[in-house]
Amino acid sequence: MMDILNILISESFWAASLRIATPLIFGVLGALICERAGVLNLGIEGIFVVGAMCGWMAVWLGAGLWGGVLVAALAGAFFGLLHAILTVPLGLSQHVSGLGITLFATSVSYYTYRTALPNVSSPPRIEPFQPLDLPVLSELPFLGSVLFQQTALTWLALLMVAVVWYVMNRTALGVAIKAVGDNPDSVDAQGLSVYGLRIGAIVAGSALMALGGAFLTMSAFDAFFFGMVNGRGWVCIALVIFASWRPGKALLGALLFGAFDALQVRLQTEIGALVPGQVFLMAPYILSIIALVVAARSADYPRALLTPWFKGQR
């Protein structure tokens, strides 16, 4: 018991939690925007892969770290646009299209990586983002050192939580996105474009998702591996329901998840001898399912989620 307490009050534990949570924050925010507009984006897993690969490769080719971030976001936006075209004006099954995007984005990334680097034994490395040293904030007693150990991408993720919150709750655009996910006719009758809002939301959301992937290769690690996303995208889809489509709760959900993941890594070193290591590896996925089950009953799904809308048909 004492051990767990010690872990829970250690700064490195919370720093690790925030680090693990970062890609999920991007992913959950992205999924949240798409679903608020009424479209489920199961392309998320593949968009993570694309973001991870493109961001890394851009840096590797000399675009610089922020150049890499931009490339990753654009790549994510591109696959988001594809999903948007299939599901919004064409109104095709959001489930199948999303899975198709995941398969397509993943295979494009893998093929590109393999074609660019046919014969490497160990994956080439880049110089990743380094922890930021911020003048005043870093000197705060506990929080300072937790935040002090984070890279610019984590800061960007936290900033995006605020941005998404502001847009959704304080701007006309946010109101319109919420409305189009609840009743597209309401938006159409007021002369706004249902297609435009939905496509825009999916593209923006997908760009955010890709940043989650980019964090993996440009901050958490310094190289691209096959299978490195490993279900993180699907976890986000579960978390967004847990977060009831609210940016603040999305941050909370991602942090809880990160904390749990960080805890299991530390517990593994403490009691690893007693339990096979895989039990700890499974834990995050099981946690996601539990979160989903707990939240599902009372979940206030956007009413128009999964329902295609065609102009001129009521």
Partner: protein, 357 residues
């Protein structure tokens, strides 16, 4: 102004034409990544063709590869017919495979003739269990089965690794994470000499035929179709929707489990954690290409298997990454989706839109 409206009639040409055309477009699309890799597409296509039809062995490899895809394709097709989104065939496949090696490697002292049926039965049961759980969470708590089955895939795969380093590990494997082999009397007999194609294919074909027949002609199939097409109306008409969902969950999971049994007891002989290169996910593409028809699944599985086998052989000959096959498969899925749209809707000028009331 342009509007989209449903077609009043659907021609048979679309039902058949869409998947075929999608496959052709996806194959043609492959020229772009081939060119990007600096390969001559025509030569690559020729290599792929040779890899599939070049010899009896080559084609037997396609059949071998198609076998698990028929199982997982049927698993997806039946579930999707009922609008039960089973994306967990990959995990259910491993559950089936685990059951097969657990029983088949001599843990249980079962006489020879009984062992194989027992493996098949329990393998299917294990897969079914893997789908019943998410279906329960869906019907009881409203937890989206897409997410739960997807996450279960990861959980099960880690569980397999745990078992392969623990109770299921072959003592003779020198610490390598692999299971003990299935006993000879537990193996699905091969179909041809010196080829890898095995009688799992026959089981798959029989099940596809059976599923096709039952879907169209049985009361069970009627209920399943009604639940999938309009659950509210089915419920109103007195059909027990949850029972239908659990029924199809058992079948779908069982079929996916059989894919694992067939790979372990028909092909590999033992279980490793890389038994399936994503057969579960590819099964979804197979089902979609098949238009969710069980008979179509057989043809679609043969096509997808050809792509994989052909791309492998092309890859060996020309040094182009065999991820090309995954690209072709995913593009064919997207094409068939769009094709489904073209078949169901037509684009009209606004002036001919039908009356709203």
């Amino acid at each position: 102004m342009i509007r989209i409206e449903p077609r009043q009639t659907q021609s048979r040409a679309f039902t058949l034409g869409v998947p075929v055309l999608s496959a052709v477009i996806a194959l043609a699309f492959a020229a772009i990544p081939l060119l990007a890799a600096g390969a001559n597409p025509l030569q690559a296509y020729a290599e792929m063709f040779r890899g599939v039809f070049g010899s009896v062995f080559a084609f037997s490899e396609v059949l071998t590869r198609a076998t698990p895809l028929i199982f997982t394709g049927l698993a997806a097709a039946l579930a999707f017919r009922a609008k039960l989104w089973n994306i967990g065939a990959e995990g259910q496949l491993y559950l089936g495979a685990m059951a097969a090696v657990a029983i088949g490697s001599g843990v249980l002292d079962v006489s020879g003739i009984l062992l194989l049926p027992l493996i098949v039965l329990l393998g299917a049961a294990a897969g079914a269990a893997g789908m019943v759980a998410p279906t329960y969470l869906k019907t009881r708590f409203g937890a989206d089965e897409v997410v739960t089955t997807l996450l279960l895939n990861f959980i099960i795969l880690i569980f397999v690794q745990m078992m392969l380093e623990g109770p299921l590990q072959d003592p003779m494997s020198l610490g390598w994470p692999q299971s003990a082999p299935v006993l000879d009397q537990g193996m699905l007999p091969p179909l041809m000499d010196r080829m890898r194609v095995h009688s799992g294919l026959v089981v798959a074909l029989i099940l596809a035929g059976l599923a096709q027949f039952m879907l169209a002609r049985s009361v069970w199939g009627f209920r399943l179709r009604a639940v999938g097409e309009n659950a509210a109306a089915a419920r109103h008409a007195g059909i027990n929707v949850n029972r239908s969902l659990f029924g199809v969950a058992i079948l779908s999971g069982g079929l996916a489990g059989l894919a694992g049994v067939s790979e372990v007891a028909g092909l590999k002989g033992y279980l490793t954690s890389d038994l399936s290169p994503g057969f579960g996910y590819t099964g979804i593409v197979v089902a979609m290409l098949a238009g969710l028809s069980p008979a179509g699944v057989v043809i679609a599985a043969l096509f997808i298997a050809s792509v994989f086998v052909g791309a492998d052989s092309m890859s060996r000959a020309m040094g182009v990454s065999s991820f090309l096959a995954d690209l072709v498969v995913s593009v064919s899925l997207l094409c068939v989706l769009v094709g489904g749209f073209v078949a169901r809707y037509r684009i009209v000028r606004a002036s001919t839109t039908r009356a709203a009331s």
